[in-house]
Amino acid sequence: MISYILRRLLVAIPTILVLIVLSFLMMHYAPGGPWSSERAFPQAVIDALNAKYGLDEPLWRQIASYTWNIVAHFDFGPSLYYKDRSVSDLIAQGFPVTLTYGFWSFAVAVAVGGSLGIAAAVWHNSWLDYLAVGISIGAQVLPNFVMAPILVLVFTLWLGWLPGGGWQGGAFPYVVMPVIALSTSFMASIARITRSSMLEVLNAGFIRTARAKGLPMRRIVLRHALKPALLPVISYLGPAFVGMITGSVVIDIYFSTGGIGQYFVNSALNRDYFVIMGVTILTGALTVLFNLVVDILYAWIDPKIRY
C-alpha cells in the first residue's frame, strides 16, 4: 500500500508539469494580453511592464523560471492585475474562505443527499421515494445562479434574517446562503447515485440471504448494504470535494465571499497570467490528491480491491 501511494505521488509530478506547460502555452497564445485595455498604452509602457514581470523573455524561459520559482522558493509569482498582491497572497487569503464554505457544502450535500438516497431505495416506490426523487430533480434543475439571487431576495430583503453577502471571517450568518446555494445540486447528484446503487445492492444475493436469516432491515442496510452501495458514490465524491473546496465563481460573485472561485473566470478575462497558473496548479494538485484518497478508500471499503 505504502509503495502504491508513493508511486502515485511520483506520477503526480510529471502530471502537474504537463499541466503547467499546457496551461502556460494556452494562456500565452490566447488573443490579447494583460496590458491590453480600452486605452492602448504607449509601447514604452508595455515594454516596462513586460520587463518588470519577465514577460519579455522567450517563452521557454518564462515557463522554466516560473516552474523553478515554485520548486525552489514556493513562489507562484505576482498578480499582474492586483498589482500590490502576489498569487500566494491572493490564494492564502481566498482559499480558507472557499475551503470553509466548500467543506460545509460538502458535509450538507453528503448528509442530506445520502440520507435521501438511502431512504428512497429502502422504501422503493413509496411516497418517500417519490418525494426524494422529486426533491433531487428539483435541486438539480435549479442552478445556483438562479437560487443565489432568490435566497438573497427572500432572506435579506423580505425576511431580513441574513446579511446579503460578505464573509466576515466566516461568521455563521454569512456562511448559510453560500452553503445552501452550493450544496443543493451536489446533494441532488449524491441522492440519485446513492439511490440507484443502493437499489442495486439491495437486490443482490447476499442481501436476500440476510433477509432470509430474518435480520432487521435497519441492520441489513447499515451493516451489509451501505458499504458496497457507497462505492460509486465515493468515486463521485472525490472530484466533487475538490470542486467544492476550490470554490465557485457563482458563489463568490453573488455572495461577495472573497473566495478563490472567482479567479477561475476573472483571472482568465484579465489575462492575469500567474493567477491563472496558480489556481490551475492548486486545482490540479488537489484533484490528484483526492483521486488518490478515493482509491485508498476503495481498498478500505472493498476487500476485493488490492493495490
Binding site: 490579447g32 492602448a40 498604452f41 509602457v45 516596462a48 514581470y53 463568490d252 453573488y254 472573497g258 473566495g259
Partner: protein, 540 residues
C-alpha cells in the same frame, strides 16, 4: 467662457482664500445623524491602492479619499485647493509654480512637502515602477517624461522640482492650459517615500500605508471589502463629517440593488440595465441620473482591410443618419443618456458645442436622406451591402448592436454580420482593424474637449478606424497654443460631420441610487469624481 478664463477665475478664487471652497457642508437647521458612515458598492476589487499604479475609476474614488493631490474638485467639478493653496503660471502655460499649505500632514504626522510630489511623480514615470499610467505623466508633457519612460534619461531629470518645502515648480515641454486640473488624478498624488522604501509592494496594506488624505486605510479584505476611517492628521479634519467609509465588493448588479434596498448600502452604481425609470418612479428621491463625461460611438474602418464601400463618405453618412438615436436612448438604455450628434459631450467644461445639420432634422428626414445617399452610392435593397460589426460581449452592447443592425437592414438594406468577443480578444481585433464597424467608447481623462478630439488625430493609438485627415491634425496641434481653442474644436467637429469616420451614438449618464440622508453629493461634476470628506449624513 474659455478654458483659460475658467482657470483664471479659479486662480482668482484661490487667492480669496479657502473659505469659499468649503461653503458646502451641513446647513442651518439640518440635524446630523449620530453615526456618520458611508457604505457603497464596488463592482470589483480595486486592482491596486497605489496611486501611481492605479488605472481604474473605482480605484481613483478610493485614492481621492486616502490621498490628496495639489488640487481638488468641488461639487461642480471646479478646481479648489488641495495640498496647494494656489498656483501661478508663466511662459505661456509651460511653467507652473504651486504653493503648498504648511499645515498638510501625512497620517503619521510628517509634513507633506514639495519633495513628496517630486518623489511620487518621478516614481510614476520611472520604467522600473512600470506604472500602466506612466503615459499620463507623459501626456502632461512634463520635461523629459518621454525620454525617462524610454529609459534614455534617469527619473531625476523629470521637469518637476522642489524649490523649497512649500514650493513646487513644474516645467512642461508644451503649453498645457489644463495642467492644474490634471493634478486631481491619482497618478500625480504625493507618496510617502520612507513607507514605500520600507515595505515595498506591501506598503498599501492597512497598518503599513501612510497617506495624506482625509481618510486612512483601516481594513482591507480583497474581494470582500475595505474600510477607510477619518484621518485625524488631515489639515481640514474639523470639516470632515463622515468618519467611516466602507466599499463592499458586489460583482452582480442585481444583487447590489437587492442589498441596497435591504438597507445594507448608502450608494450603488450603476443600476441594472433598463430599470432606471421604474426605480425613479418608486424611489424618486434616491434614483439619480447625471451626465457623465463619456461618448459611446461606432468607428468605421477607414483602411483597406474594410469593405471598400466604406471609403465612400455617402455610405458612412447614410449609416449614421439611419440610426435613430432617440430609440437607443429612450427605448433601450432608459437611463437619462443623451443622443450624440457630435463626438465631444456638449457638457464638457468650457466647450461650445457646434450645431450640426443632421441634429436639427427629424428622423424621417434623416432616413430619407440616408436612403438617397445609399442609392446614389450604388447600394440598395437590390444590391445590398454586407458589413461586419464587432462589439465586446455585454448585454447592453448586444442590445444596441442589434437595434442598429435592424435599423440599417430595414432602412438601407444593409446586412450586418454581428460578432461579439470577450473584452481582451475584442481589443486585439479592433486594434488590428479586422472589422467594418466597431463599438467604441471614450471617457474624458480630464474635463476639456481635447481629451475627446485627440482621438481623431491620425497617429492617436485610440483611433481605431485609422481616420487620417491633415486638417484635423493641424487644427488639434494649433489648439495647444490658443487662448480660446473652441473655434478649432468646432472646425474639427465640422470635419467629423463631413467625413463621418465615427457614428456618435450617445453621451453617457451615471445612473445610481443614493441614500437621501447622504448630502453633499457632487451632482454637477460630470467626471463623477467624489470626495467622501464633502459628504455628511442627516438624521433619519
Amino acid at each position: 467662457m474659455t478654458l483659460n478664463t475658467v482657470l483664471r477665475l479659479t486662480a482668482a478664487t484661490l487667492v480669496l482664500g479657502p473659505g469659499l471652497a468649503f461653503a458646502a457642508g451641513p446647513q442651518e437647521g439640518e440635524t446630523l445623524a449620530e453615526s456618520q458612515t458611508f457604505t457603497y458598492r464596488l463592482l470589483d476589487e480595486v486592482p491596486t491602492l497605489d496611486p501611481q499604479l492605479n488605472e481604474d475609476v473605482s480605484g481613483s474614488n478610493v485614492q481621492r479619499d486616502l490621498f490628496e493631490g495639489l488640487m481638488n474638485q468641488d461639487a461642480e467639478g471646479n478646481l479648489v485647493p488641495g495640498v496647494a493653496t494656489g498656483y501661478t503660471t508663466a511662459d505661456g502655460n509651460r511653467t507652473y509654480v504651486f504653493t503648498l499649505r504648511d499645515d498638510a500632514k501625512w497620517s503619521n504626522g510628517d509634513p507633506v512637502t514639495a519633495g513628496d510630489f517630486v518623489y511620487a511623480w518621478r516614481r510614476a514615470i520611472d520604467p522600473a515602477t512600470a506604472s500602466p499610467y506612466a503615459w499620463f505623466v507623459e501626456m502632461t508633457t512634463m520635461a523629459n517624461a518621454s525620454k525617462i519612460l524610454a529609459g534614455e534619461l534617469p527619473p531625476e531629470e523629470l521637469g518637476v522640482e522642489a524649490v523649497d518645502d512649500q514650493t513646487l515648480k513644474v516645467t512642461l515641454e508644451e503649453s498645457i492650459p489644463y495642467f492644474a486640473a490634471m493634478t486631481t488624478t491619482s497618478t500625480l498624488f504625493p507618496a510617502h517615500r520612507a513607507t514605500i522604501e520600507e515595505f515595498g509592494s506591501e506598503w498599501t496594506r492597512p497598518g503599513n500605508m501612510v497617506s495624506n488624505g482625509a481618510y486612512v486605510l483601516s481594513e482591507h479584505v480583497p474581494n470582500e471589502y475595505h474600510t477607510r476611517t477619518k484621518n485625524p492628521e488631515y489639515w481640514d479634519a474639523e470639516n470632515v463629517h463622515i468618519t467611516e467609509v466602507t466599499g463592499l465588493v458586489i460583482n452582480d448588479v442585481n444583487q447590489a440593488l437587492t442589498r441596497y434596498l435591504a438597507g445594507e448600502l448608502d450608494m450603488i452604481e450603476p443600476l441594472p440595465a433598463g430599470q432606471f425609470p421604474e426605480l425613479k418612479e418608486r424611489y424618486p428621491d434616491q434614483a439619480t441620473s447625471v451626465p457623465r463625461l463619456c461618448t459611446y460611438y461606432y468607428s468605421f474602418n477607414m483602411t483597406d482591410s474594410a469593405n471598400p464601400a466604406l471609403q465612400d463618405v455617402r455610405v458612412r453618412r447614410a449609416m449614421s443618419y439611419a440610426i435613430d438615436r432617440d430609440v437607443i436612448v429612450n427605448a433601450v438604455l432608459k437611463g437619462g443618456q443623451s443622443p450624440a450628434y457630435i463626438f465631444t459631450p456638449p457638457f464638457t467644461a468650457s466647450f461650445e458645442p457646434p450645431a450640426t445639420a443632421y441634429e436639427d432634422m427629424t428622423q424621417k428626414e434623416r432616413d430619407a436622406e440616408a436612403v438617397r445617399l445609399m442609392e446614389e452610392a450604388g447600394y440598395g435593397k437590390d444590391s445590398p451591402l454586407t458589413l461586419r460589426l464587432i462589439y465586446n460581449t455585454s448585454e447592453n452592447h448586444q442590445k444596441i448592436a442589434t437595434v442598429m443592425a435592424q435599423m440599417w437592414k430595414q432602412k438601407l438594406g444593409v446586412s450586418v454580420e454581428m460578432q461579439n468577443f470577450e473584452w481582451k480578444t475584442f481589443l486585439e481585433i479592433r486594434k488590428n482593424q479586422e472589422f467594418d464597424v466597431a463599438r467604441g467608447a471614450w471617457c474624458g481623462d480630464y474635463n476639456e474637449a481635447s481629451t475627446f478630439l485627440q482621438l481623431m488625430v491620425s497617429d492617436n493609438s485610440q483611433n481605431d478606424g485609422r481616420f487620417a485627415n491633415d486638417e484635423v491634425d493641424a487644427l488639434m496641434l494649433e489648439t495647444k497654443t490658443m487662448d480660446d481653442p473652441n473655434p478649432n474644436y468646432a472646425q474639427v467637429e465640422a470635419i467629423l460631420e463631413q467625413e463621418v469616420p465615427v457614428i456618435p451614438v450617445y453621451h453617457y449618464a451615471n445612473v445610481f441610487m443614493l441614500n437621501p440622508a447622504i448630502k453633499g453629493w457632487p451632482y454637477g461634476n460630470v467626471e463623477n469624481n467624489w470626495y467622501s470628506k464633502d459628504f455628511y449624513k442627516l438624521a433619519e
